[in-house]
């Protein structure tokens, strides 16, 4: 069961977690990425490439499901203006056993950072700036082969 969502609304983690708690799922791993409240950023703006984004997230989710035999995968990513403390991205993976769920969750968040067309812009008291990509992200994604 694969669910991919790109949305301007806040992420409801309780509802999203419940949606991966399917019958065969003994282990559920999840990851939340959020705007830190201690970073001097007043708003984070997320731009994306409609159409390509959803397809890219779906490919990441399907790749994880096939590689780890997952019972369910959910990826939710926010776009638009996001405030400090709010969630940017949510990944949940459900498997029979814990190791598959944990590894697949790490895979999904690593891959979506390089494979999905999102761009972050930080608004601070000193002005706005586009966030630069980090070389480490490409390396982490490549580690999964």
């Amino acid at each position: 069961m694969i669910r991919v969502l790109v949305a301007a609304e806040p992420i409801d983690v309780a509802a999203e977690l419940a949606s991966v708690e399917v019958d065969g799922a003994g282990g559920i791993a999840s990851f939340i990425g959020r705007v830190r409240a201690d970073d001097g950023v007043s708003t984070l703006e997320l731009e994306h490439y409609p159409g390509m984004t959803e397809a890219a997230l779906r490919r990441v989710a399907e790749g994880a499901r096939d590689r780890w035999g997952l019972a369910a995968v959910t990826i939710v990513h926010r776009v638009g203006a996001i405030l400090p403390g709010e969630r940017i991205v949510f990944v949940a993976t459900a498997a029979v056993h814990r190791r598959a769920a944990l590894d697949a969750c790490a895979y999904c968040i690593d891959r979506l950072k390089t494979d999905a067309p999102f761009w972050k812009r930080e608004v601070t008291p000193e002005g706005a700036r586009w966030v630069e990509a980090r070389a480490g992200d490409a390396a982490r994604a490549a580690d999964w082969g």
């Binding site: 997320l46 731009e47 994306h48 490439y49 159409g51 390509m52 999905a116 761009w119 990509a133």
Partner: protein
């Protein structure tokens, strides 16, 4: 052969538009050649495409490198390295 160009993030801001319809001449066969051709259209395009290392692209919504052929492409997007997640 009309192509829908899309620009995102600071590339969009520097080009000055998020999309434009173009019709490159027959000699333009790769993504790299298309970007060279676009850079000649205006100072804004030239600025946006000045540093190729900072650009990424997709042909019909799949990531593509500068040597990728553009024959048959309907939609080409140019943007900075992605920073989601």
């Amino acid at each position: 052969m009309a192509i829908e160009m899309l620009y995102f993030a600071w590339v969009r801001e520097v080009v000055g538009t998020g999309s434009e319809r173009i019709d490159p001449p027959a000699g333009i066969e790769t993504l790299g050649a298309l970007i060279d051709w676009l850079a000649d259209r205006s100072a804004a395009h030239a600025n946006a495409f000045a540093d190729r290392e900072r650009l990424r692209a997709a042909i019909d919504q799949s990531f593509a490198s500068p040597d990728a052929p553009i024959a048959g492409a309907r939609e080409i997007a140019i943007f900075p390295p992605v920073t989601g997640g």
